[in-house]
């Protein structure tokens, strides 16, 4: 453990190259304000993957790494849709996931919003429509906001969430 604390002291807070740091910092600050104003300090997101390649999830997971640390802004990914304000939906809406996605959406208490993540849900990724895909999602759900990218990187996701918060 001693070794760990030594390392911890040496590493201190991880710094980025300056432009990125200020940019992320700005996003962080404005997100924090919006979350505070509109969600009493805590925005709960239920992430649902309806048929992604998993890169969109990987980028959402990256939001918790020390470089981004989304949670300290009051934005949390929650385990149950019943605890959520927002459903963040990634991937193609597949035939096999359709009812499960609708179920998760129905379980989120009002007021609620759905935000689509990445090019897949709106059928903008290179995939073509097949019998196994029910997309685009907007035909089945009210989509409040869309975060484009294949996949959107963590910075873009933070930016996207901020835009969503400003919009509502």
């Amino acid at each position: 453990m001693i070794r760990f604390w030594e390392k911890r002291a040496k590493t201190s807070v991880v710094t980025e190259h300056p432009e990125l740091e200020t940019q992320i910092d700005q996003i962080r600050r404005s997100i924090k304000d919006e979350v505070k104003r509109k969600f009493a300090g805590s925005l709960a997101i239920r992430m649902v993957d309806s048929g992604s390649c998993n890169a969109c999830e990987a980028e959402c997971n990256a939001l918790s790494n020390p470089y981004y640390d989304l949670e300290r802004l009051g934005i949390r990914f929650v385990a149950s849709p019943r605890h959520a304000d927002v459903m963040l939906l990634s991937g193609l809406l597949t035939f096999n996931m359709y009812h499960h996605v609708m179920d998760a959406w129905a379980q989120i208490p009002e007021p609620k919003w759905s935000v689509t993540l990445g090019d897949c849900p709106l059928m903008n990724a290179p995939f073509q429509k097949s019998f196994a895909i029910k997309g685009p999602v907007a035909e089945h759900l009210p989509v409040a906001h869309h975060i484009p990218g294949c996949p959107p990187d963590p910075e873009t996701i933070m930016q996207g969430l901020l835009e969503f918060l400003k919009k509502i």
């Binding site: 992604s52 470089y67 990914f77 996931m97 196994a132």
Partner: protein, 456 residues
């Protein structure tokens, strides 16, 4: 003989059932009017998913099989539709009446069932796990997937090989480079060309970088699932740096569409520096975690896959190597020349899979250093108009990836891919008995299999 894959193709007047082993490939022609084939799953248990899929895809009946349930087609999938047949051309399907799926379960007094998924509690892919429990103890588990089924095999039929490339690159995001390399190999064979060495090395370098990213992420998450969050913070920081390096080299954080037939010189200054940094950090990490007794208390003897069962179920990749099987596509002169060392462990538990990842990261760093020495620009001419049947094997960060395609008049006639996860998911339940349900996430994470690549 190691079983690799079993799948069907539709021909003019028959179906062809192809069974691939590591040493040979068998082809059976079967009648189209009444397609039936004998099971091989009694001998090779991992063949059962392939056979159930073959029935869903083509309507081929499997004689003597111990499991006739649908695999890919779920509760609301219309009955008697076999979408891989050439005469199926629908672009959309309506939901049929709900037909319940009969899960494997163990009966008996006090035994109860626990259903988990398809939507899980964290940021993870959808899939279903069905447990039979005696209190805390897991008696049996069934893995049920294919929620992400996008029908990729059908989607790319009729496409030009180069047109299909961006789709194939996005089948499984964490293994994108591996998928792209497999597809590259097929295209190159179809064109009868050979890739210049410099290009081979460039692609191999990116594949090792992909492996490093995947292993780093897992090392963090596995520790976190054992309640040691500090390791997650540490490893996810390194993984983020590795992703940024991937972006620096390929303009994409996952290397999507990076395997091309052209290579410009890389910024090897930055790459070399980062490799030094990573090596030093990993050395430190190893010494740190080895000294945390509570971690090894959770890791050791948890989720054991015995060497006998690993072999019996023809597992691949990390899972196989952690149980003593020396299977790795990279065991060839090209890789050996560039510093590849076969890494194995013998205990087959979470600890073995964890340590194996540590060793593989170290070896990948070494290999990247050698691959980057060849930094000259390089190109390879490709043109369409090929025909024939081609296959490729690539060692993805999960394990052996097998891909095959028939190309006719420059168009894809049949595309089949077997993700390493398709084999290993079938062996997951073997690791459960003797463990408590709270250890399931830890065991699952220690294998870190793909749902997207499995479901297609």
């Amino acid at each position: 003989m190691r079983f690799v894959a079993r799948f069907a193709k539709e021909r003019q007047s028959s179906f062809e059932v192809i069974t691939v082993f590591d040493e040979k490939t068998e082809i059976e022609q079967i009648d189209k009017a009444d397609p039936v084939v004998e099971t091989i799953a009694t001998k090779y248990p991992a063949a059962i998913w392939f056979e159930r899929k073959m029935h869903d895809d083509f309507g081929i009946r499997i004689e003597g099989a111990f499991d006739h349930r649908p695999l890919v087609h779920q509760e609301r999938f219309p009955k008697d539709i076999h979408p891989m047949r050439k005469d199926f051309t629908e672009q959309s399907l309506d939901f049929a009446e709900y037909r319940p799926y009969k899960y494997e379960a163990i009966g008996g007094e006090g035994v109860f069932e626990v259903s988990v998924g398809p939507i899980h509690a964290g940021i993870i892919e959808p899939g279903h796990f069905h447990f039979s429990q005696a209190g805390e103890d897991i008696l049996h588990q069934e893995v049920r997937h294919f929620y992400k089924y996008r029908a990729i095999e059908k989607m790319v039929e009729g496409m030009d090989p180069l047109q299909a490339a961006p789709i194939i690159a996005r089948i499984s995001g964490n293994e994108s480079v591996a998928y792209q390399i497999a597809w590259r190999d097929i295209v190159v064979q179809a064109l009868g060309t050979v890739l210049p060495n410099a290009l081979l090395k460039r692609h191999a370098l990116l594949l090792e970088l992909e492996r490093i990213i995947h292993h780093l992420t897992d090392l963090g998450f596995i520790s976190n699932d054992a309640g040691f969050a500090a390791a997650l913070a540490f490893c996810s920081k390194l993984a983020e740096e590795a992703r940024r390096m991937m972006k620096h080299l390929t303009r994409h954080r996952f290397g999507f569409d990076a395997i091309t037939f052209e290579a410009d010189p890389l910024d090897i200054g930055a790459l070399g520096q980062w490799l030094d940094h990573l090596q030093e950090q990993m050395q430190w990490f190893r010494e740190w975690v080895i000294d945390i007794p509570s971690l090894w208390d959770r890791f050791d003897t948890t989720g054991i896959l015995t060497p006998y069962k690993a072999k019996k179920y023809d597992t691949v990749g990390i899972v196989a190597r952690a149980s003593g099987m020396a299977v790795d596509v990279r065991l060839n002169p090209f890789y050996l020349e560039h510093g590849f060392r076969m890494q194995t462990q013998s205990n087959g538990d979470v600890a073995a899979r964890f340590k194996l990842r540590l060793d593989e990261v170290a070896n990948s760093i070494e290999m990247m250093r050698r691959f980057m020495m060849d930094n000259a620009p390089s190109t390879c001419k490709v043109q369409s108009e090929a025909k024939g049947s081609y296959s490729a094997f690539v060692e993805s960060s999960i394990g052996e990836l097998f891909m095959t395609a028939d190309i006719k008049n420059g168009k894809i006639e049949r595309f089949f891919v077997r993700d390493p996860s398709f084999m290993n998911w079938q062996a997951l339940h073997l690791m459960m008995p003797g463990n408590i349900i709270a250890d399931f996430p830890l065991i699952n994470k220690s294998c870190d299999l793909s749902y997207a690549g499995n479901d297609l």
